[in-house]
Amino acid sequence: MPTLLALDASTSACSCALWRDGHVISRYRDAPRQHTQLLMPMVDDVLAEAGVGLSDLDALAYGRGPGSFTGLRIAAGTAQGLAFALECPLIGVSTLEALALAAHRRLHARYVVAAMDARMDEIYAAAYRCHDGTLEPLVEEAVLIPERLRLPAAFHDVDWVGIGSGWTLRERMPVEVQSALGQCLSEPQPAAEDMVRLAAQAWEAGERPAADEAVPVYLRNEVAWKRA
C-alpha cells in the first residue's frame, strides 16, 4: 500500500492528510486567507504525527478544483514543488468528488449532488452514485446558475443527498431538484482527508501523473474579454 500526502486550499478551509496502510491522519482548519501560513506547518504536523518523512511518500495529491482560483494555485504550487523535488507523481483530485465522498462516508449516501458556491451567482456542481467508498459520476462537473441544475432523468425516484456550500442557493434550484433531495448539508467544505482516499484509489488504478502535468480545473474559463 502506498504512502500518500494530500493538500487542499480550494475554499476558505485549508487541510492536509496522510494516507498510510489504509489509515488517515489529517488536519483541517477553516481560516480564510491564511493558507500561505497554515499549509506547510500542517504538512509538517501530519508527517510528525505519523512518524513519516517526506522521502517515504510514494505520491502527492492536491485539490485540483473547482474552487477559489488562487487557493487552487497555492495547493498546486506547493504540491508541485514537493512532488518535483521528491521525484514522485502528483495526483489531482476533484473537490466535488471529495465532497461526495464525505457525504457517502458520513451519511452512507448512495446518490450525491455536490455543489460549491462559485460566486458571480453561479455554482460548481456534479452528481455521483456512490458504492463501497467509490464514486461513479452521473452528471459531469460544470459551472452553472443554480436554476439550471438538473438530476439525471433515470434517477428521479431515488433519495439524493446534497452537500457543499452551493446548497446555500437551494431556493434558486429547480423544484424537481429540491423535492428529490433527502438530506442537504451546506456546511461542509472539501477536505484533504477525503482527497487522500480518492488519491489512493487513483494510485491503485495505476495513475502516476508527473508534477509538471498538474493543472487546476477551474471550470470557469471566461475570465477576460478580447478587444472588439
Binding site: 504550487g77 508541485q80 478587444r227
Partner: protein, 343 residues
C-alpha cells in the same frame, strides 16, 4: 552558494541559477506577451494560470542547462512582491514546496531590488553608492543606493509610469501591445522638429515625475491632425518621435538633478524602459560630460527575469536571511522600506 531564482510577479515566468562563486550559470524565461496582446494588456487571472503551467518545465530546463540535480542547489529565492497577488502566489508556493522537500532555505525577495541590482550580473558591475533610475511599465523611481537594502527614494512618478505612458501612446498610434519598443521603432523615422511635447515637471525643482499629461498631449496632437484626414505613416512616426523625445528628455533632466543633489558619480538604469536605445544614448552622453558613468543590465535582464531574483536572493541568503514556513506574497511593497539583510 547555488541559488535557484523564481520570478512570477507579472507576465513573465523567469527561472535562473546563480552561483556566488561562478556567477550566473543558467537562466530561462517564458513570456506571456503574445497571450495578453489579444486583450490589449495583462489579464491577471490568465497570467497566474500560465505561471502554473510553465514554472516546473522552466525549472527542469535550467537544471538541465546547468547540468545540476535539484539536490545540488543550496537555496531558493522567489519574487515576493510587488506584483499581481495571484501570480506571486504561484512562485511563492512552488518555491516553498521545493525548498521543504530539498531541505534548503527559501527567501522571498523584492522585485524592484532585483531590477536595481541587475547590473551586478554584468562584467563591469557598479560599486556602491550610486543613483538608480528604475523605469518600467509599473515604476518610475529615482533611488539613492548605498548598499544592499540601503535605499533612499529621491523621487517617483505621481501618476503613470514611463513604460505605461509608452504603452498608452502606442495604443493611440494603433501599435500592438506591448507598445514601448514599437513606439521607439516608429520614432526612428520621425522628424524631431515637427512637434515639441512638454517635459512634465521639469520647470520646477524636485525629482518627481508625471507622465499622464504627456499622454493627453499625444492624444490631442493626433486628434488635431485627424481633423484633416487619417494619420499618415509620417504623422505617426513624428508623433512617436516627439513623445519619445519628451519622455527621454524628462528622464535625463531628472537623472542629472539626482546626480547633482547626491554628488554621486555612478548612475544605474534598470527596468523595461532601460532597454530604450535613445535613453541609453542620452544618458551615456550626459554622464560622460560630467565624468560619471552609467550602468545598464544586458538587454534581456532589463525586463523581468529570474537571474536578478537569484542574484538578490543569494546576497541576502548568504547573510543568513530566510523565510519561516509562511509563503510571502506582498502585492504593494515600497522599495524604500527594505533594510539590509537581517541574519
Amino acid at each position: 552558494m547555488r541559488v535557484l531564482g523564481i520570478e512570477t510577479s507579472c507576465d513573465e515566468t523567469g527561472v535562473a541559477i546563480y552561483d556566488t562563486e561562478r556567477g550566473l550559470i543558467a537562466d530561462a524565461l517564458h513570456s506571456q506577451m503574445a497571450m495578453h496582446a489579444e486583450f490589449g494588456g495583462v489579464v491577471p487571472e490568465l497570467a497566474s494560470r500560465d505561471h502554473t503551467r510553465k514554472l516546473l518545465p522552466l525549472i527542469r530546463q535550467v537544471l538541465g542547462d546547468a547540468e545540476l540535480r535539484g539536490d545540488q542547489l543550496d537555496a531558493i529565492a522567489y519574487t515576493a512582491g510587488p506584483g499581481l497577488v495571484g501570480a506571486l502566489m504561484v512562485g511563492a508556493s512552488t518555491a516553498h514546496g521545493l525548498a521543504r522537500a530539498w531541505d534548503i532555505p527559501v527567501l522571498g525577495v523584492h522585485h524592484m531590488e532585483g531590477h536595481l541590482l541587475a547590473p551586478m550580473l554584468e562584467d563591469t558591475p557598479p560599486d556602491f553608492p550610486f543613483v538608480a533610475l528604475l523605469v518600467s511599465g509599473g515604476h518610475t523611481q529615482l533611488v539613492e543606493v548605498h548598499g544592499l537594502g540601503c535605499y533612499r527614494l529621491l523621487g517617483e512618478s505621481v501618476d503613470d509610469a514611463a513604460g505605461e505612458a509608452f504603452d498608452k501612446a502606442a495604443k493611440m498610434l494603433d501599435l500592438p501591445y506591448p507598445g514601448g519598443p514599437q513606439v521607439a521603432k516608429l520614432a526612428e523615422h520621425g522628424d524631431p522638429k515637427r512637434f515639441r511635447f512638454p517635459r512634465p515637471m521639469t520647470d520646477r525643482p524636485g525629482l518627481d515625475f508625471s507622465f499622464s499629461g504627456l499622454k493627453t498631449h499625444t492624444l490631442t496632437t493626433a486628434r488635431k491632425l485627424q481633423e484633416a484626414g487619417p494619420l499618415s505613416d509620417q504623422d505617426r512616426a513624428d508623433i512617436a518621435r516627439a513623445f519619445e523625445e519628451a519622455v527621454v528628455d524628462t528622464l535625463v533632466i531628472k537623472c542629472r538633478r539626482a546626480l547633482d543633489a547626491t554628488g554621486l558619480k555612478r548612475l544605474v538604469v534598470a527596468g523595461g524602459v532601460s532597454a530604450n536605445y535613445r535613453l541609453r544614448e542620452r544618458l551615456d552622453h550626459e554622464t560622460a560630460k560630467r565624468q560619471a558613468q552609467a550602468f545598464y543590465p544586458r538587454g534581456r535582464f532589463c525586463t523581468d527575469n529570474g537571474a536578478m531574483i537569484a542574484y538578490v536572493g543569494a546576497q541576502r541568503l548568504l547573510a543568513g536571511e530566510r523565510d519561516d514556513a509562511t509563503m510571502q506574497a506582498t502585492p504593494r511593497w515600497p522599495l524604500a522600506t527594505l533594510t539590509p539583510p537581517a541574519a
